[in-house]
């Protein structure tokens, strides 16, 4: 579908018009423009009643100006909300001035050009509160069901659609529509002594049933009828896919090539060099990103509004393809800009907005199979407040949350207290003993605000370090 680039029924110029206007207005030697049209709708509840909600719409424009100065090419950027071309003109002026006042960029490189998305002319895709037309009444029914069964529900759903337009003075005209949705619901017994959580990612909420979520929470709270207090120690532990996602995202975010090359990460070969080519995981273990992965599709080209150790504005528009970070247990690639790739002598492998962990030979194996095969151990639900303690080992600390269950002779026999853990996700990849098939997952720690597109297996780790007991319920 095509639309006029000049205006949209009183809502201001189109994103494409902003792109063309910015490029025309810029006095820089080259110019990149990123326009993001984002709409979202959310519902939040606690104590079996809705608490807050919202419908938001925003259009942001980032202008990146590139100018030749003594010693190289400098970049400057300016971003802001925009609803008029005058606002975009101001952003262009600010970006041009910033570039002229800057110093030569170390990551300077030629811009991609002359690539046009077939749907470039299409308008932004919106969402609104009607995405919950079926969900909302069912949620109200779930509140009533929970209340009558002495359960208390707390939760949040969010749906947003971001339409990104990337244009450049070198001819880039790229568009991508990214729907992102997630749901999460915590259930507690009326005395607040037991807690359980279910959550996941969705693209459209057609597959999310509040009554089914409540039923699963009821089952999990039922597992807590028997309470077992266990001390700190190392336990045979089953990490469900959501907990594996929690940890693998940290492993991915720490995979910047430059800091590894300069000796500052778990992927470093000190004093200078990377561990690319080294075995860092069990054979048969694969960690990769792929913008075309079914169900986790994400932007298939680089969009960078600022340069950093892991991104470069000069790389905007570079195509993204499947990248194997770990292949058959060996570190195969790190997150590379063209600048860091030249530094490390490795291929250009920019960051991609999804992550998949897979294990060979486990097709058809489920989380339930892992439980059934465990003589005595712990089954976690999810992890929380995960922070890096030591970058050189990628030691992380964090806590279990909303359900640690005791597994005895292949069955769940009770609920256990929470723990603080200290572990390295990279180390875990060498220590797991059993895995399930890869399924869509959702990191409770990072999925909501930062990184929701993951697919991971459940892993069983024989000596997971539960450093101390947490009294939290």
């Amino acid at each position: 579908m095509s639309t006029s680039h000049s205006s949209r029924a009183g809502r201001g110029p189109t994103p494409q018009a902003f792109v063309e206007h910015a490029i025309a207005a810029s006095g820089a030697d080259a110019c990149l423009v990123v326009v993001r049209d984002r709409s979202s709708a959310n519902l939040r509840w606690a104590n079996n009643t809705l608490t807050t909600n919202g419908v938001m719409h925003a259009v942001s424009v980032t202008v990146i100006s590139l100018v030749r100065i003594a010693g190289g090419i400098a970049s400057g950027s300016a971003s802001g909300a925009a609803s008029s071309t005058a606002q975009v003109t101001a952003l262009v002026a600010a970006a041009d001035a910033a570039a002229r006042a800057s110093s030569p960029a170390e990551d300077a490189a030629g811009l991609a050009g002359d690539v046009v998305s077939a749907d470039w002319d299409d308008p932004p895709v919106p969402t609104d509160v009607h995405v919950y037309d079926a969900f909302a009444p069912a949620l109200g029914e779930a509140f009533g069901r929970a209340r009558s069964a002495d359960r208390v529900l707390y939760g949040f759903v969010n749906h947003e659609v971001t339409t990104t337009y990337l244009g450049s003075s070198t001819g880039l005209r790229l568009r991508y529509v990214q729907p992102t949705g997630h749901y999460g619901c915590t259930g507690k017994t009326a005395d607040l002594a037991q807690s359980a959580w279910v959550g996941g990612a969705t693209r459209d909420f057609a597959d999310v049933d509040p009554l089914a979520l409540d039923a699963e929470l009821a089952q999990r709270l039922g597992w807590g009828a028997r309470r077992v207090e266990l001390p700190a120690g190392r336990y045979d532990t089953i990490l469900p896919p959501t907990a594996v996602a929690d940890l693998m995202i940290d492993a991915y975010w720490s995979a910047g090539a430059r800091v590894a090359w300069e000796g500052e990460s778990v992927y470093s070969r000190r004093p200078s060099g990377t561990r690319i080519g080294e075995r860092v995981a069990r054979p048969g273990t694969h960690l990769w990103s792929d913008p075309a992965y079914p169900g986790l599709a994400c932007t298939p080209f680089v969009v960078a509004t600022a340069s950093s150790n892991t991104s470069s504005v000069f790389d905007n528009g570079l195509p993204l393809h499947r990248t194997d970070w770990i292949r058959d247990g060996e570190l195969n690639a790190l997150v590379q800009t063209r600048h860091s790739a030249a530094m490390t002598g490795q291929p250009v492998t920019p960051a991609i907005d999804n992550l998949v962990l897979g294990v060979d030979g486990v097709e058809g194996t489920t989380l339930d199979d892992l439980v059934a095969g465990t003589e005595r151990g712990l089954l976690l639900t999810c992890l929380w407040y995960i922070r890096e303690v030591d970058p050189q080992s990628l030691l992380l600390t964090g806590l279990t949350r909303d359900g640690v269950y005791l597994v005895e002779n292949g069955e769940i026999t009770g609920a256990v207290n929470n723990f603080r853990f200290n572990e390295s996700p990279v180390d875990l990849l060498s220590r797991w003993t059993h895995a399930s098939a890869t399924v869509p997952s959702f990191s409770r720690e990072w999925g909501e605000d930062y990184f929701s597109r993951t697919a991971t297996p459940a892993l069983r780790v024989p000596d997971f370090n539960m450093s101390s007991v947490s009294q939290a319920l």
């Binding site: 201001g12 609803s83 910033a98 030591d390």
Partner: protein
Amino acid sequence: MSGSASREIDPAFTNLPYRSLGEAALGRAAELGVDHADFRFERVRYQDLAVRDGVLQNASDREDLGFAVRVVHRGSWGFASGVVLTPEEAVRVAETAVSVAQVAAQMTSDPIELAPEPVHHATWISAYDVDPFAVPVAEKAAVLVDWTDRLRGGAAVDHAAAFLEQVLENKYYADLTGTRTTQQRVRLHPGFQAMGTAGDTFDSMASIAPPVGRGWEYVAGGSDPDGSWDWDGEVAQVPELLAEKLAAPSVEAGSYDLVVHPSNLWLTIHESIGHATELDRALGYEANYAGTSFATYDQLGTLRYGTPVMHVTGDRTHPHGLATIGYDDEGVQTQSWDIVRDGILVGYQLDRAMARMKPELNPLDGEGRSNGCAYADSPGHVPIQRMANVSLQPAPDGPSTEELIGRVERGIYVVGDKSWSIDMQRFNFQFTGQRFYRIQDGELAGQVRDVAYQATTTDFWGSMEAVGGPQTWQLGGAFNCGKAQPGQVASVSHGCPSALFRDVRILNTVSEAGH
């Protein structure tokens, strides 16, 4: 020094049509019969600079500009926001907020009520001298480049990074009761880090300078002798501190007495007191995300949080605090109050809905009043209860840090923050720091490495034997406190003195990583 003193509301903001948009939105909400409506118009400017090894990596400007309408209608909240600055769009957004409330009413069993607040007409500007956005980027970048160049002159330093985060926040608030406030505040977070290796060991040493509610004078110096940081002194000191840290022995895990410097203790206060005394958490409204609190409401007045030397205040009025403002995002005039007195829990942080639920907490004319803790980080987000500047008070004639160290036979002195984590009810925490010094017979005996301290909140504060005097008190803080769904980020300061804790569990982080 470039830039000029600026203590008036930025004309670029006051020229925007927020008053007319507000009247249009509130007028339409009133026509639709709402019980409450408020209109918030914001412009928030951000500028981030990043330098690595003497090269400017990033200089980016960002601005959030837009408005929000929030209503209470049929007992439910309705919220909507927009970015098109026309009266027609303000009316449309108001109508959307009302329609959202109508949807929400189907799922709301506890009607929303708000504590009353006097009507205010006010303009408020935070305490700063030099608007950092008025200083040329090149001048600011040159400072960061100079820092990394000088840091790399140290023999142990392989790489160095520096950054500068700057925020200029303008807000206009109006509601149906007649309150109209216009405000402006500035905050600044400069910092640097040096990285080095020794054999197969990597480590870093970062600045312990806190983020502040001040302007560029914090970096460049100004008329207030307490208003800037000794950047040159710290840049000169850090390479040697890093070299000592790389050569330091690994700590032996066990139980130690701790003397904790304010540059580390602020973060422990933030996590174990600040968040734990947010009433929305204590009442369950964050249960699905940030969590609840062990400091439940039924324990108000009886919970022994710590030893009798513990006195903690909430304060949104401290002149240079990151959470300081004149009026919050619900039009409430900000205040200061006690949270922990003589070691006992005596107060919570409130917004208007929470204050209405617990009117005995902050009574005014027989009704509950908010203590001014509502905040939204952008025009696209709904205000929620956020943290005041929560601070531990010093002992009026208390000891110096050296005197506290002198009381320790075998212990560790902790300086600077690094890693932090706490459970969802704020019981169990683990922190690291920038540097740890062994204390032997009342004196410092060199750095040790690989240290983390782990405790439970009430055990930790119950082990606090002494707090330092006012001469040890410093205001720390964070730019990036996360909370709520959808997630929001807030800035907050925490002041504290040095303090002495007995018998705290120390972990060796290398051993923790082993198996």
